[in-house]
Symmetry: C2
Subunit: 564 residues, 2 copies
Amino acid sequence: MRYRLTVNLETQTIDRSDLPEEAAWLGGRALLDSILLAEVPPTCHPLGPYNKVIITPGLFAGTTMPTAGRLSIGAKSPLTGGIKESNVGGMAGIVLGQLGIGALVIEGESASQSLKVLVIRQDSAELVEASELKGLGNYDTVAALKKRFGQKVVIISIGPCGEMKMAAATVAVTDNDGRPCRHAGRGGLGAVMGAKGLKAIVIDPQGARPLKAVDAPAFAKAVKEYTKIIQSSKSTAFLQENGTAGLVDVSQARGSMPTRNFSAGSYEKKDAINAERLKELMRERGGSMGHPCMRGCIVRCSNIFNDQNGQYLTSALEYETIVMMGANLDIDDLDTIAQIDFRCDDYGLDTIEMGATLGVLTETDQFSFGDRNRAIALIEEIGQGTVLGRILGQGAVTTGKVFAIRRVAAVKGQSLPAHCARSIKGLGVTYATSPQGADHTAGFVTEEPLSREGHTERSRDTQINVIIADSLGLCQFTGLRAEHDLFARLVGPLTGKIPTETDILSIGKDTLWQERTFNTRAGFGSGQDRLPEFMATEPLSPNDTVFDVEDQDLDRVFGEYPKS
Amino acid sequence: MRYRLTVNLETQTIDRSDLPEEAAWLGGRALLDSILLAEVPPTCHPLGPYNKVIITPGLFAGTTMPTAGRLSIGAKSPLTGGIKESNVGGMAGIVLGQLGIGALVIEGESASQSLKVLVIRQDSAELVEASELKGLGNYDTVAALKKRFGQKVVIISIGPCGEMKMAAATVAVTDNDGRPCRHAGRGGLGAVMGAKGLKAIVIDPQGARPLKAVDAPAFAKAVKEYTKIIQSSKSTAFLQENGTAGLVDVSQARGSMPTRNFSAGSYEKKDAINAERLKELMRERGGSMGHPCMRGCIVRCSNIFNDQNGQYLTSALEYETIVMMGANLDIDDLDTIAQIDFRCDDYGLDTIEMGATLGVLTETDQFSFGDRNRAIALIEEIGQGTVLGRILGQGAVTTGKVFAIRRVAAVKGQSLPAHCARSIKGLGVTYATSPQGADHTAGFVTEEPLSREGHTERSRDTQINVIIADSLGLCQFTGLRAEHDLFARLVGPLTGKIPTETDILSIGKDTLWQERTFNTRAGFGSGQDRLPEFMATEPLSPNDTVFDVEDQDLDRVFGEYPKS
């Protein structure tokens, strides 16, 4: 039986309870959303005591299934003001799952000046004072905590930006190498953890063992089938060879790569930042491609990037970071991008939101396209919390607001990631309508990218299917989406409670509707399901296309929502 | 027949057309809202070309009625993201009314670097280039324009904060003495005008004559009745003697005077900032009380405040400014407050929003309660557009967002004015539910101030009645609210089309519903009809009361809305 740990920072109490029977099939995003909707008042202040940080491993996390140990972290978002689930790799999902923890709920807030660390062991959990970590980056935090609690601990932590309650602050999770380089990046969850006065969660893997399925043979058989699908997929081979950086050329080819603050869809210097260039540098300096972010991953899209001296600089250098800091800022240099990536990981900052934010800042006299040193210096200002840094740390929308800049690529307060809506209009529908704000992982629709029609159902279906993956703990790079039958044959043997395909589909439907409901109660109307005005009026090269999906088609995503 | 001027800054064209027949009874806020709802896309960017600045004199403006020349200025607000009508005194309403202009609509946007002035004469209107005014304060702008266009012109203008498109930027209107000291203060309308590249509107009063009523004797008779009511009212005598500063003692007595960033409802040093102190200084230095902001006013609540040398410093020193800059910042000194007021008028900044903003800033290391010099310096930073100044110029919510401050007294992005919601709960219901955001002029409900019940209908009725006054052009200090019968006896003879009392009431009802509709389409849900969380949890002294009106009572304001 999976259990729930409820940690109250105000009362300093930790409560352990079994997950309810009806949550048998729920993990990850589905379980998180159901707790958030039930327990967090939608109009509460995101940085106040009534918000909760909810951490849920996917349903398969901790089992013998590979590439299925994703972790959901969520709260009411200080960035969007709505519901937020941010999905992260690394080792925490697996270890929490193996320890039997289905949900970890952080509530209340510490007395001011206090800074706590939560230590979770096989049979115990405690809050310890850790004021000595105040202001430390994630790398130093992890080093200090490993020194105190042992080298094998898995750590969830925030950097100074989370402590400063910035809306672009992330929650870091240590990867398979023990580095804090996997991030629940979007939506400012680091700020919520910071507001509670919780610097880190240390998970001691002592005693953690793979979860046993109720019907082990049937589960093993289905896992084998699942594994085979992934291993035989072209996408897996592509990601192992190129990492997500391989998408630079793909994105360039379809004209959907944000360039110079979303003013173009392709980048004339893309060869300086693509996978070929990345691999060339790796051949020169060491580092590696095909690296797993979590133990046993069979996709292995991660990488390690070394500096000019062959020393570790950052992991992983991902497509989103490369494009948002590269093409979008006209920085045609992977070394600069890697230095920014390292700082973002260390300070605890979302690289997507930061790339968008610096893009907006180019419309002021504070920054110009291509200014590598200034880009690094600005990220450092954020980590230091200067006045300018405080603005930028709140993300692209606040930066646009402060400087009265109109061209801000964001929906519901969250910046667009590194895929242009105007040249992948189905994805644009997802950006507009997802309760998460603009998010490529919320439902990547690639069909008929330049058509203005037919995306309503595609986006809705994809959003629902993505939630199923996010709830089971599957990495989206497994490529599995609508295999509800296979999922049913995995969930049944694991839990001993056999679902139909329809039951699996209902997990996605119900959860998406819960997210929508939370946002509605928080004060969102359908007028928020829109892309920024400039995308409807400013054609994007090279396709010379605007975002012209009709408002009514956007409203139909939820207006005609199919309840379970 | 009243006419409409439509001025397009992009095409540099000016179009003149008659107001439609069905607008016969509509002026001010009602006419403005109907145009805004029909012509401005609710999801447009407030600083973009699709927003419009709409300027409408009240229906009675320009007639022989005294204290009835109020002017409505509106747009989609860059502060709230919703509909905004800000109501202002001064001479522009009367003169526009006398010239027969029922609506002035500013649309499009100038080419960048261009700065225009609109010049309106009896039979003509033109846009002229005025780059030489760039960056000038309202006082210097008015001086330059009078030099160019004559001393008698009436001027509507923006200061540098409007040019910088700050969300707390005002639109200034010259008063009866020709000074730019009456402001459409709330909602950042100055920024919208700035975004269009329009620095000022010069109105030449040459040829302006009081409007003739269709049935002149009947109109004169009703005006006489109206005048008598105002002249015999105790409130008129009180305002003539004390100005709105007289409310300091009233507010203190009921414990509703925001003190130290809304942490208390009374101020132990209130004698240093009340009307008695103000009058004492006037006796010493000159200046005057009982001053009219517009010609012929019979209330005369305005005043002129001189500095220690007996020189003009500012006009008028109002209750809202005194309390938001005084008690709310613990600045117990009218001279400092007057210096701030002058700067706000000159730069074009809403003193209410600024007082709230500096209150929020006391929770950072940038400002402390009572620091007079720093308060002045911070306002100057805004006028200069420093990085910190840009933050503050966006208002209290953005300032709270940037610095991650939770105690921000605001609704829908607009700060509460100088009346605490927790100790006047009916007003709190108005703050929460008004489509305008927190606004004391949207429906001041004073009955049973500490009761949590019974305010839904009171607030709704008062909001509707206030709109009628704002549409007719009546100053709220006439004290007239629900005199629908008298209003009908004024509107009928003036327009020649006789309304019933129900028709008058419908103007208010329909308009309030239009405002709600605009906001709904802009993306607001009822979760936005809430006061800040801290007001529900932090008791306010001296009444030790929280805001505890039930959410469902707030939702009933529009949930049970009585359509016409």
